[in-house]
Amino acid sequence: MMKGSRHIDEFIDDVYTCVRSRCGFCFKTCPVFLVKGFETYTSRGKSMIIKAYLEGKIQLSQDLADRFAHCTGCGFCTSNCDVDRPEIFNAFRRDLVDAGFTIKRHNELCDAIKNHNTPYTEDELPLPQKYKNKINTSSSLIYYAGCTSRLRERDILYAMMEILDEFAFLEEPICCGSVLYRTGNKTAAIEQALKLADFLKPYIYLVTACAGCYINLKNIYPLLGININPTVYHSTQYVSKLLEEGSLHLAKIGTGIKVTYHDPCHLGRHGKIYDEPRDILKKMGFTIVEMPHNREKSLCCGGGGGLKSAFDETATKIAGIRATEAYNTKASLLVTTCPFCERNLADGAKINNVPITVVDLTKLVAQAILNPMKL
């Protein structure tokens, strides 16, 4: 590949800024470093590798693709730095993909999205009639559930449909393309985004309970040069809005119950939404005990960036560390606000024998509306 035609060339100064600084403040809760142990997996280490590549000392290779796929894109490194690390690594991944060095499992996901509009291959279950009754195609609000809620974490889907009175809903899942972008497939990500943007044209508001979809629609689409019509809300923002307007009332289902809250990286560090989920929990009467790593210093669950799909063992080990941190707070519940985090944290807790229950906040809100006495 000729110099100047590489995606990484845009970030050469940033790479050398890291090589000069070497502060290593990106190590502390780099989730992959915590599990793998080599500096290779840290942001500082990756800068050193890219430096070696830029200086012609190493070539693009499958091993490099493997190392750079070991990143959840959680952004902890950037929260301690003046350089946008995930964007550097996304660019380098694009160079790897362009050179044909890809991860098999990521290719399968990408092919599935291209062919079926979703990374998952299973058929979607039919919606219960009571939720079908709430769907109104002419509503100004679309509930964009995201592939994981629609196909894997149906409880979150139903919970959101309990919370919303009336909404438009895509007939079939159409992936937002987050995984395409984060695994280095920018062209495919743009194509997918354009497809979805077309479907979203009629709507003024969009709400999603998936932190990954939220940040992709909100922050990444503009980076890809794609503007969508509706204003994007995460479910926690939307519920907060409804509470503020007085159109939603939540029972105090959490009185006397201690919970801890896991900030999904895409919602917290990337989206800067920290207070809304905590405020909703407090409104339901829960007592929040924070984990040592919270808000902008939160520890990733390990599920993002295509890590879980390609390297599940590493992803669930990371989740085990986070679940243990939650367990040590003596909270009864580990609450989060992203189906991907919920799934991976639950897997991590189970595999690592950490006795804590993981639940998405959406489900608690639905519970507070539906059946306030149940908890």
Partner: protein
């Protein structure tokens, strides 16, 4: 026949050893100024979890006579952790457990790869504190802090690593594991102080795997005070006056105007302005006191009285005070100071120490040599690594690492500053260590005693496999006592 690395992999497993260049490049540089494209590539990197695993590596390395370099946080500034002759890097940050917090005896025992910040995160919930506090604390490991004898913010009250460390586990070449120190006792008169020999030995005698450290009660509250004095000598006199008054301060730093500007990074971020100080006042005196409210109130009042009668005036802008402390201790900033400040040029430092009465002379040399070598000034930061007033100085500059001549000039600057410090009755390194950058000058600093140091080194490490090419000059083997006497500082002959 198996290679040395295959033998290690057999014992440690593939997940703890790599010879893939992709995994080696992250360990090819420290924070030393060097040309932007320079690197020192090891042949393998190991991430052991236990003393036993380190022992296995050193046993096999001894058999093969292959270099072994211990690696901490990789933030050193003198090349101490660089594998300049290849070999094996032992990344100790894979050994980061807090082994025991002993509240009754006020000690903590940790693995050597624990970061200084992680130690305090474990202590803080118990109301305890390990006060060694370099700005690199989120990354720098306790083992490396001891092996390079780094300085810290609270030195004037609590001292340096020698004052903290009580006991250590060290693996020596061949894999033998020894314990050095006095267990948990504060002091000992028994035997040679091998523990002290390890301090600033830069991993040339053994690989440290565990340490026991003294800890202290976490102060309830802290007050930061910035004052300015006309000169460095005025600031020093004022500091003596504070000490003479009987006050107990926990930190005392003297900065020139350049360094004040550098340290007030968050103030610049917030206001877009440089933290200026009144005309005629060229030196910052930054102090902190910690404890209960009434003690702080009294201390502040008394410090004010003493400093006002010693030609100092206060800097009362709260944003400047906060900005300085953000940089020095809390490390809370929107945009990381290190990456923000090194987008074009690299930070580099001469880390000399001189007797307190020669500080102004040393500062004059800083002005002279930065001008002579055309190096932009980051500025002067005088730490006190105490107890009492005991300067450890960072005379820092920016280096254009894309310009070979500028990098060469930096090393000439370090050499001239180092020689000046020795001639002023001081020492050429006070927190970085000799590493690769000063090894050619150690005969000048130490004279004949360098020969004894080499004999000690050979006693521990007869084949010179531990961190070779550091501290001692290349031709140390051939240098006689007479040669070293000639090379040593003139007044020692």
């Amino acid at each position: 026949m198996k290679t040395v690395f295959e033998e290690i992999i057999d014992k440690l497993g593939t997940k703890k050893v790599s010879t893939n260049p992709i995994d080696l490049y992250p360990y090819s540089r420290d924070w030393s100024p060097m040309e932007h494209d320079k690197d020192y590539l090891p042949e393998a990197v190991c991430i052991p979890s236990t003393t036993k695993e380190v022992s296995i590596i050193l046993e096999i390395a001894q058999k093969w006579k292959i270099p072994v370099v211990a690696w901490g946080g990789g933030t050193g500034m003198g090349g101490s952790n660089l594998a300049i002759r290849g070999g094996i890097v032992i990344a100790t940050n894979s050994m980061s457990n807090i082994i025991e917090i002993d509240k009754d005896n006020m000690t903590v025992t940790v693995q050597a790869g624990a970061t200084i910040q992680s130690i305090n995160e474990a202590l803080e919930p118990l109301g305890l504190w390990f006060p060694h506090d370099p700005e690199s604390k989120p990354t720098s490991t306790i083992g490396a802090a001891l092996m390079c004898d780094s300085n810290g913010t609270f030195g004037i009250k609590y001292g340096s690593m020698v004052n903290y460390v009580l006991n250590a586990t060290v693996v020596i070449p061949g894999g033998e594991v020894i314990r050095v120190g006095q267990r948990k006792a504060a002091t000992t008169s028994s035997g040679y102080k091998l523990l002290w020999l390890m301090i600033s030995s830069e991993g040339t005698l053994g690989v440290m795997t565990e340490l026991t450290l003294r800890i202290f009660p976490l102060p309830k509250k802290r007050e930061i005070m910035l004052w300015v004095a006309p000169s460095i000598n005025d600031a020093t006199k004022a500091l003596y006056a504070i000490q003479a008054s009987g006050l107990c301060i926990e930190s005392a730093h003297i900065n020139d105007k350049h360094r004040l500007n550098y340290y007030t990074h968050t103030y610049r971020e917030k206001t877009g302005k440089t933290a200026d100080i009144p005309k005629g006042y060229n030196t910052l005196l930054a102090l902190s006191v910690a404890g209960d409210d009434d003690v702080l109130e009294f201390s502040k009042r008394k410090i004010s009285t003493v400093l006002c009668s010693n030609n100092c005036i206060p800097l009362e802008n709260e944003d400047i005070v906060k900005g300085w402390w953000d940089s020095k201790h809390t490390l809370s900033w929107e945009k990381n100071k290190w990456s923000s400040s090194q987008k074009k040029e690299k930070f580099g430092s001469a880390d000399v120490s001189v007797p307190v009465g020669r500080l102004q002379d040393m500062y004059d040399a800083f002005i002279k040599y930065t001008k002579a070598y055309d190096l932009p000034k980051v500025g002067t930061a005088i730490y006190n690594i105490g107890p009492h007033i005991s300067p450890s100085i960072s005379f820092a500059v920016f280096v254009d690492d894309h310009d070979k001549e500028k990098v060469a000039n930096f090393f000439k600057y370090v050499e001239d500053m180092s020689k000046t410090a020795v001639l002023l009755g001081g020492t050429m390194s006070s927190y970085i260590g000799d590493g690769t950058r000063l090894r050619h000058l150690t005969p000048f600093e130490h004279g004949k005693s360098l020969k004894m140091m080499w004999k000690i080194k050979k006693l521990f490490d007869p084949d010179n496999i531990l961190n070779p090419g550091k501290i001692f000059p290349e031709n140390i083997e051939e240098l006689s006592y007479e040669d070293l006497e000639k090379k040593g500082r003139h007044d020692e002959r």
